[in-house]
C-alpha cells in the first residue's frame, strides 16, 4: 500500500511543480529566442567572404550549434531518467524519458539538416561519412529506436524497460560525438566554444549564439514539461480504462 502511495505522491508533486514552472520556462524561451534570432540574423556581422571565410552562411550556426547541443543534452536527460527508472525505480523515470526522446530526435534531425545545408555551401558536399557526422546520425537512430521500443509492446511496462536499456547503452555515443573531432581526422571542424584555449568565436557572434542556446534549452524544458504532463494523463486514462474493464 505504501509503495503505491509513493508512486502516486511523486507524480502529483511533479504536476504541481510543472504547472508552476511552465510559464517561466516558456516566457524565457520566447524572450531568448526572439533576441537571439533578431541579433543573429539581423545585427551580428557576417563572416569574411569566401574563400577566406563563410560570409553570410555563418548564420546557419545560430540554429545548428544550439540544435546540436540540445541533441546531446536531451539524450543525457533521457539516459538520466532511464537510469532513475531502472536503478531507483523512480516512478517518473519512464515518463520523463518517453516525454523527452521525440524532442531530442527533432533536435538531432535539425542538426543534421542545417549541417547538411552548411556543408553543401562550405565543404562542397551535402554529406560525408566522417566520424562527427556519422556519430550524430547514430544518435538520431538511437532516438528513433528509443521511440519505437517504447511503443513496440502491448504492455507499456515491457516497452519502457527495453527502451531504458537502449537509452543507457547509447550513452557511449555521447563522448564519441563530442571528441570525434579530436580523436580522428574529420571534415567537421574541431570545437569552437568548449575548448582549452577559450572560445574561437568572436564576441559579436558568440553573444547572439549564447541567447539562441539559452532559448533552445528553455524551449526544451517547456516542451518536456508539457509532454510529461500529457504522458501522465495518458497513464491515468489507461489505468481508469483498465479498472472500468475489470469491474
Amino acid at each position: 500500500m505504501s509503495a503505491r502511495l509513493h508512486a502516486f505522491a511523486n507524480p502529483a508533486r511533479f504536476l504541481r511543480l510543472a504547472r508552476r514552472l511552465l510559464p517561466w520556462t516558456a516566457a524565457l524561451a520566447a524572450i531568448c529566442l526572439a533576441i537571439g534570432a533578431v541579433w543573429g540574423i539581423g545585427i551580428a556581422p557576417p563572416g569574411k567572404p569566401p574563400p577566406e571565410g563563410q560570409g553570410e552562411t555563418v548564420r546557419i550556426m545560430y540554429v545548428h550549434v544550439p540544435s546540436a547541443w540540445m541533441a546531446l543534452f536531451v539524450y543525457a536527460c533521457v539516459a538520466a531518467a532511464s537510469a532513475a527508472a531502472i536503478i531507483w525505480r523512480h516512478p517518473l523515470g519512464h515518463v520523463l524519458a518517453r516525454a523527452a526522446s521525440p524532442i531530442g530526435a527533432c533536435f538531432a534531425l535539425l542538426t543534421l539538416a542545417t549541417g547538411s545545408l552548411w556543408g553543401a555551401k562550405m565543404w562542397g558536399a551535402w554529406w560525408v561519412w566522417d566520424a562527427r557526422l556519422t556519430s550524430v546520425l547514430i544518435l538520431f537512430f538511437l532516438y528513433l529506436g528509443h521511440i519505437a521500443l517504447t511503443h513496440a509492446f502491448d504492455d507499456p511496462a515491457r516497452g519502457a524497460r527495453a527502451a531504458c536499456i537502449l537509452a543507457l547503452v547509447g550513452v557511449v555515443n555521447l563522448p564519441i560525438i563530442k571528441f570525434s573531432v579530436d580523436w580522428w581526422n574529420t571534415l567537421h571542424q574541431p570545437a569552437s566554444i568548449i575548448r582549452r584555449e577559450g572560445p574561437a568565436i568572436d564576441a559579436q557572434m558568440l553573444a547572439p549564439l549564447f541567447f539562441m542556446i539559452c532559448g533552445f534549452t528553455f524551449y526544451f524544458f517547456s516542451v518536456w514539461l508539457l509532454r510529461a504532463r500529457a504522458e501522465l494523463a495518458a497513464l491515468r486514462t489507461r489505468a481508469l480504462k483498465l479498472r472500468l474493464l475489470a469491474s
Binding site: 563572416g47 574563400p51 560525408v128 571542424q189
Partner: protein, 153 residues
C-alpha cells in the same frame, strides 16, 4: 546488498564494460574511422596505387596551376613535413585557397605517387571571425590564422 545498490552496480559495470569494448573496437578501426590521411600518414601506410582514399592537408603556397588542357588543376597538398601533388578536373569549393585552406581530396594515388582526385572538399577551421575585424587585424599586421597547427593531428 540492497537490490537498489545491486542494480546501480550492475548498470555502472555494464556501461564500463561496454565503453571499454567500444573503445577497443574504435582503436582497432582507427584507419577506417578517420576521414582522411595526411600526406605523412599516407606515406607511413604506403597506400597502393589505385586504391580509393582521402588525403587531407593545406594547399601549398603558389602550387596551384592550370594544366595545358585548360580544365585540369594541379596543386600540392602538404602537412608541412610531406607533400603530394594532386590533379583534379572539376569545380572547386568556395573555401579552396592557398596556404591557409585545408582541403580533403578523394581519389587514388598513381604509380608515380601523384594523386588524381575525383572530389575536392574544403574544410573550415574552428575560428569564427567577422569580416570587419579580420580586415582591421590584417591592416594592423596582427592577423594570425592558427598557422602553427598542421592539418591533421
Amino acid at each position: 546488498m540492497k537490490a537498489k545498490t545491486k542494480r546501480l552496480f550492475f548498470v555502472s559495470f555494464g556501461l564500463a564494460l561496454l565503453g571499454g569494448a567500444v573503445a577497443l573496437a574504435l582503436v582497432a578501426l582507427q584507419d577506417t574511422v578517420t576521414f582522411f590521411f595526411t600526406p605523412s600518414q599516407a606515406a607511413e601506410r604506403s597506400i597502393p596505387a589505385g586504391q580509393r582514399v582521402r588525403l587531407g592537408g593545406l594547399v601549398e603556397e603558389k602550387s596551384i596551376r592550370k594544366l595545358a588542357d585548360g580544365v585540369t588543376i594541379e596543386f600540392r597538398v602538404t602537412d608541412r613535413s610531406k607533400a603530394v601533388t594532386v590533379r583534379y578536373k572539376g569545380v572547386l569549393p568556395d573555401l579552396f585557397r592557398e596556404k591557409q585552406g585545408v582541403v580533403v581530396v578523394q581519389g587514388a594515388f598513381q604509380p608515380d605517387r601523384t594523386f588524381v582526385a575525383t572530389t575536392v572538399l574544403a574544410k573550415h577551421d574552428e575560428n569564427y571571425v567577422p569580416k570587419e575585424l579580420a580586415d582591421e587585424l590584417k591592416k594592423q599586421g596582427l592577423w594570425q590564422h592558427d598557422k602553427s597547427k598542421p592539418a591533421g593531428k
